[in-house]
């Protein structure tokens, strides 16, 4: 298991990075606003998870939900 070890104050880098990548990935199939909304919701729902694991968890969940909405 690879886990980041040090706790840091919450930065919403998880949201920024996920939004940047998912907007590019879903351009043409989902609007930018929709992507931002889904990512923020995911971020909120995952607020109990360790900060350093958040970027991966948020992006993963948001991608899963965006795909479902397109299908």
């Amino acid at each position: 298991m690879t886990l980041a070890l040090h706790s840091r104050p919450v930065r919403d880098a998880s949201v920024e990075q996920a939004v940047r990548r998912l907007v590019a990935e879903f351009s043409g199939s989902a609007g930018d606003r929709d992507v931002v909304r889904v990512v923020r919701t995911c971020r909120q729902e995952l607020s109990g998870a360790p900060v350093d694991a958040l970027p991966e968890l948020v992006e993963r969940l948001a991608r899963y939900r965006l795909r479902l909405s397109i299908d």
């Binding site: 886990l3 070890l5 995952l46 109990g48 998870a49 360790p50 694991a53 968890l57 969940l61 899963y64």
Partner: protein, 539 residues
């Protein structure tokens, strides 16, 4: 800080024998207590009861501060356990549980990447963080660097079996000493450690502020580290509140006190019985006496119901009688002896009556040298010879006798061996009784404990009529009392003794010290030398 409080613990073996009865003691905050007792007295069972592995038939164990346990088998792990799994198993239960949760969630994600699985994974990670898992990972990193010289990432998938016994012990000790648990139970933590390793262990135990209860047979370690001694004997336990140096005197005084109390109880018992008998006679003639007779009967019944005080525990019946015999003055003469590839050529003369301790690093050829003198086939150059009337008797570490494993002790004694005449069953049992092995006479050699096997080997030496004892780590598996008995026997032995040992306490009873250096040099030292580095060989 934590403590352990054992109250009235009783434990019965599957065969119905009561191993522990009404065992009570407390190891207070920050104490470093040694748990001692004969082989088979119930030390490991008691540790397992404290750790919760075994449920006692009666009594209770209270403890606070989280419990870390190092079991006896650590150092001899030969299965496919990885370093990571080993560290997890040493962690507190909550951490173990959280780790297993994360692993299960990761596995589930490989099967299905849906929303519930992702959220379960996030929850598992959250739980890992909540129980302090990230701090534990940092500790693991520190521990592996300290014990193995590499960070956790570099060794976590390595099999524990690829580490030496000493490395396994050190890894576990570093983990427990740096971990969060405040109470540590250590079952023979010094096994498999060489002398520098033991010194390191002593220092760490002296420094730690944790509460420690440890089992050890190493008297040097006991003397340096223990600030109290818990003794398991006669089915019970008692605590000596001082250090190990004052322990033997305290134990003797306690036994004398117990014997004295028991004697007084017996005397009073006899007196009451006599009084009852006398009053019984007198009561036949006088109604007044009849009332006194009944009162005395009641008093006797109450006295007997209260029961006698515990008798002193039976002494371990080990009476080693190594007789030996007069030999020529020169016992061993070695000229430019070199065991091929192990050491540089050296000369040695050993005289009748000498006590020579052979010290030095592991792998330097000490045991090979002893085997050469015992007449075994060992590749060497140079000359060596034994003096007139010198009969060597060889004590080897137990694994050196595969041919004994499936034979009973009486059978081994009855048949004899080249150089050791056989004895009939009566004599064999008498000899076994003197070595505290009467009950094991018809058991297979393999079923004996390490200490019992060692005692049996000393018995064989006695019967062989050896005049030169060649002993390879003779105290390794002996409990403290048996080791002292062996020392007494060696002191009384009329002959010459040469022993390979890492036991610092035992080594001090010798008067010459032959050191096998890690650089291949063999030299004599005026004092015991224990810090020769381990010999590095390509494997």
């Amino acid at each position: 800080m934590g403590y352990v409080d054992v109250a009235g613990v009783r434990f019965t073996l599957p065969d119905g024998r009561v191993l522990l009865d009404d065992v009570s003691f407390r190891v207070g905050e920050g104490a470093c207590a040694a748990l001692v007792g004969e082989n088979g007295a119930g030390k490991t069972t008691l540790l397992r009861i404290i750790s919760g592995d075994l449920t006692p038939d009666g009594g209770s164990v209270a403890r606070t501060g989280g419990l870390g346990v190092m079991r006896q088998f650590i150092g001899s792990v030969r299965d496919d356990t990885t370093v990571q799994r080993f560290l997890i198993d040493l962690a507190p239960p909550a951490v173990r549980e959280a780790w297993d949760g994360v692993e299960a969630a990761e596995l589930a994600m490989m099967e299905a990447d849906d929303e519930p699985t992702q959220l379960a994974y996030a929850t598992a990670l959250g739980h890992w963080g909540d129980v302090g898992g990230y701090d534990v990972e940092v500790t693991w990193d520190t521990v592996t660097v300290a014990a193995l010289g590499v960070p956790d990432d570099g060794c976590k998938y390595r099999e524990l079996a690829s580490l030496s016994g000493g490395e396994q012990k050190r890894l576990a000790l570093e983990c427990l000493l740096r971990g969060p648990d405040q109470v540590l139970l250590l079952d023979e933590p010094d096994n498999y450690l060489d002398v520098p390793g033991k010194r390191w262990l002593e220092q760490r135990l002296i420094e730690t502020r944790k509460t420690v209860l440890f089992v050890s047979h190493d008297r040097e370690l006991l003397a340096r580290v223990a600030d109290r001694v818990v003794t398991v004997e006669g089915g019970g336990a008692w605590v000596h509140g001082g250090d190990f140096a004052s322990y033997p005197a305290a134990r003797t005084a306690r036994h004398e006190r117990m014997a004295d109390q028991r004697k007084r109880w017996d005397e009073e018992h006899e007196r009451l019985i006599d009084l009852v008998r006398t009053l019984q006679q007198q009561a036949k003639n006088s109604p007044d006496m009849a009332a006194r007779y009944h009162a005395m009967q009641t008093r006797l019944a109450k006295y007997e119901a209260a029961g006698p005080p515990p008798d002193r525990p039976p002494d371990q019946h080990v009476a080693m009688r190594l007789r030996g015999g007069r030999t020529g003055v020169r016992v061993i003469v070695a000229e430019q002896v070199e065991l091929t590839g192990l050491m540089q050529p050296f000369d040695l003369e050993v005289d009748y009556g000498d006590r020579v301790a052979v010290l030095g690093s592991n792998g330097a050829g000490k045991s090979h040298f002893l085997r050469l003198l015992a007449g075994q086939d060992v590749a060497h150059t140079g000359d060596w010879r034994l003096g007139a009337r010198v009969v060597p008797g060889f004590f080897a570490q137990t694994h050196a006798h595969p041919e004994w494993l499936d034979r009973t002790l009486v059978d081994l004694l009855w048949h004899g061996e080249p150089g050791r005449p056989g004895v009939d069953r009566g004599r064999a049992m008498a000899a076994l009784r003197r070595y505290g092995l009467a009950a094991q006479g018809d058991q297979l050699f393999r079923s004996l404990s390490g200490g019992q096997q060692a005692r049996f080997q000393v018995l064989l030496l006695e019967l062989s009529g050896a005049t030169l004892l060649l002993l390879d780590e003779p105290t390794d598996n002996l409990d403290v009392l048996s080791a002292e008995s062996l020392e007494e026997a060696l002191a009384a032995f009329d002959g010459t003794v040469m022993a390979v040992t890492h036991d610092r306490w035992f080594a001090r009873t010798f008067d010459r010290f032959l050191v096998f250096g890690s650089d291949g040099r063999v030299y004599e030292a005026p004092e015991p030398v224990f810090d020769e580095a381990r010999v590095q060989r390509t494997r």
